[in-house]
């Protein structure tokens, strides 16, 4: 693909892993010692590097293989603005994070990398946890255009997404192209405010 193009993201149906921790900060997602890279690629192996040293970390259990969705707690991605966090999550193979809420900068960084942040209410969150506990093969299904999320075979709930971010995801557009198309207005603004 050319720069500025990406794979359209319309639907996703996948197994998921649960990391039931609130306020997961980006220092945990990707510790600072891995930020000396000058590439976006190759960070998946360092995802949650310090937590993965602990026995039985959810992402390292055999039943996590192939999972493309992470279910976390509240305020996921707080702290540093490092985009290395979504790069590492995507590098590991994740395409969506389902949480009770997200930190602002992380949410923006994730969307720009085709990683979908989905905030759900406590009731659906609980159902997802229960289903995963009962069956590690339980799957979540997401329809980006329709803005719905739910368990496969279960009721679908609506989730919020900025309409512009949705357009970008569904059509595989990146924001820079949109901004570049506005250069005449930007120049006018500069002249008016010089």
């Amino acid at each position: 693909m050319k720069p500025g193009e990406r794979e359209p993201f319309t639907t996703l149906t996948a197994t998921y892993v649960v990391l039931l921790v609130d306020d997961v900060d980006t220092d945990q997602i990707i510790p600072a010692r891995f930020l000396k890279t000058t590439d976006k690629r190759g960070l998946g192996t360092s995802l949650f590097a310090d937590w993965r040293e602990r026995p039985d970390f959810p992402l390292d259990r055999p039943d996590a293989a192939g999972a493309q969705i992470l279910v976390a707690g509240a305020n996921f991605g707080c702290g540093s603005s490092r985009e290395h966090a979504p790069w590492a999550l995507v590098g590991w193979g994740l395409r969506a994070i389902v949480a009770l809420s997200f930190a602002d900068i992380f949410r923006q960084n994730a969307l720009k990398n085709g990683l979908l942040p989905i905030a759900v209410d406590a009731a659906l969150h609980r159902r997802l946890l229960e289903a995963r506990a009962a069956d590690p093969k339980a799957r979540i299904t997401v329809d980006v255009a329709g803005q719905t999320v739910g368990l496969v075979g279960g009721p679908a709930a609506r989730f919020d997404i900025d309409p512009f971010a949705k357009e970008c995801l569904v059509h595989g557009i990146d924001e820079l192209g949109y901004l570049l198309a506005r250069l005449p207005e930007i120049e006018r603004h500069e002249k008016a405010h010089a």
């Binding site: 945990q28 707690g73 305020n75 540093s80 960084n109 990398n113 900025d162 512009f164 820079l176 949109y178």
Partner: protein, 486 residues
């Protein structure tokens, strides 16, 4: 906490009474399509070595240039050594990253304050110092502590690397308009209580997600009485409550501090700027989406016991018990934090052993901070077995501190006096905690492993950190202060 939530004011038509944020926002909206975020103009873009390489690579891949190199300034701070510069870099990867910043700045025509520059320092320290940071601007940087610059009445916030690329290419960002939060702090600060204690108390009150989606405006008599460096400390940690940015209306304190700085307007341009800046305050009758109040007169020096900046308590208090938390989730968070920190619930935090003291970072590495630390350390010794690092925020701060003899105070006390940089706040440069060590740090984050894998961080003011260095344990700094009431 019970934030009041007035009804959202009408947003259309002619602007009615406006908040400081709304005025700055409105001045920078280039255009906005229906259903799309605003195209927001950026006045000042600060760049450092860690979050920029992939953005420059993106420009190159598209054949784009840096559109406004005159609004773009770079420095090296995150992975730079703080031992004398002739010593080797921490590793070849850090070396390569710095080299790449040099190459990128040369290729794209961006001014770089590199390690050998007299102006080098932490990006959020040198921006204001050079007079690049000015009231009413929009300022961004690939760094969440960009909120620091809001102390001047700028709208300043951290961005990711994709957005760094957007700004390099277009000088604009796509931004949805955030909500507004007024944080009103009134009253005289008691003895030994500093800006750091104020902001730690605020974050403890609202929590690390308490200001998510909001731009904060700090106001009230306490804020008005703060010097500009202390205001930077407060705005710096806005992100630790989840806020997009923190702002303080500019006033005579701001203008006095800025006048004469290298990039500040001069002569007629200065007078014109002043006239404009004096209008940068929230109008009577303007409303915020949320208001939080804090009584400064009741504050005492603060310290964190846990693994996020919201876990702060008075230095005189006991470590909280999970059962005391208002919700099960908060209780679980305390349990997890105390397990990592190896602290016992219900015991006083004072008396806790300290192995390392770090005085520095974009939160607390300016001259006032170093003076506070020196006030405690003068004529005293760092306790045996404690490693104390004092890291100035910039080379200019270092020169000023040395001119005042503060370096001598630190050295005679047995502390290390280092070169400027982020140092042990982010622990990318070799300055780091060893597993299990306890640190009192003047930095901004106590996340697990933030200051080195397995390290345990307690956040506090420079006064409290310096006192901990002397005692070798957490101690109320008021027991080591002079009788001048400061």
């Amino acid at each position: 906490m019970t934030p009041t939530q007035p009804a959202a004011p009408a947003r259309s038509g002619a602007p009615g009474p406006s908040t400081l944020f709304e005025k700055v926002w409105r001045n920078h909206v280039v255009s906005q399509d229906d259903g799309a975020p605003a195209v927001l103009y950026v006045d000042l873009h600060l760049v450092h070595e860690v979050t920029s390489p992939q953005a420059f690579s993106g420009l190159r891949a598209r054949g784009l240039r840096v559109r406004r190199a005159d609004r773009t300034f770079a420095t090296m701070d995150h992975s730079t050594p703080t031992l004398p510069r002739h010593l080797a870099m921490v590793d070849s990867q850090a070396q390569a990253q710095l080299k790449m910043l040099e190459q990128n700045c040369a290729e794209f025509g961006v001014r770089l304050y590199s390690l050998d520059s007299a102006e080098q320092g932490i990006v959020h320290v040198i921006g204001p110092e050079l007079g690049l940071t000015r009231p009413g601007q929009t300022i961004v940087c690939g760094d969440s502590h960009t909120s620091t610059h809001g102390a001047f009445g700028a709208l300043a916030f951290g961005i990711g690397t994709s957005e760094v690329e957007h700004v390099l290419a277009t000088q604009c960002l796509l931004q949805s308009r955030p909500r507004t939060m007024q944080v009103r702090i009134d009253g005289a600060l008691p003895r030994g209580v500093r800006a750091k204690d104020v902001v730690l108390a605020f974050i403890a009150k609202v929590g690390v997600g308490g200001a998510t989606g909001h731009v904060i405006e700090y106001c009230g008599t306490t804020i008005e009485a703060l010097g500009i460096e202390e205001r930077m400390t407060v705005c710096n940690m806005s992100i630790e409550a989840g806020a997009r940015a923190g702002m303080i209306a500019p006033d005579e304190t701001t203008f006095r501090w800025l006048e004469g700085r290298p990039f500040a307007p001069k002569g007629e341009a200065w007078r014109a700027a002043l006239a404009q800046w004096r209008g940068l305050r929230t109008d009577d009758g303007a409303t915020y989406d949320t208001t939080v109040t804090l009584d400064a007169t009741r504050l005492v020096p603060m310290i964190t016991y846990g693994t996020n900046p919201g876990m702060g308590i008075p230095v005189t208090a006991n470590v909280p018990a999970p059962e005391s938390a208002p919700t099960a989730a908060e209780g679980a968070a305390i349990t997890k934090a105390l397990d990592y920190m190896q602290l016992a619930a219900g015991k006083p935090i004072a008396g806790q052993r300290v192995d390392v003291v770090f005085i520095g970072s974009c939160t607390n590495s300016r001259l006032d901070d170093l003076r506070d630390a020196a006030h405690v350390l003068r004529g005293r010794k760092v306790a045996a077995g404690v490693r104390a690092l004092v890291v100035p925020g910039s080379k200019a701060v270092k020169r000023q501190a040395e001119a005042e003899g503060l370096d001598v105070v630190f050295r005679e006390a047995g502390a290390d006096w280092r070169e400027a940089g982020c140092s042990m706040c982010i622990a990318m440069n070799g300055d780091q905690l060893r597993p299990g060590e306890y640190a009192v740090s003047t930095s901004n984050r106590n996340f697990e492993g933030r200051q080195g894998k397995g390290g345990r961080t307690m956040l506090a003011s420079p006064l409290t950190a310096a006192a901990a260095a002397v005692a070798g344990r957490v101690v109320d700094p008021r027991t080591m202060m002079g009788g001048d009431g400061t």
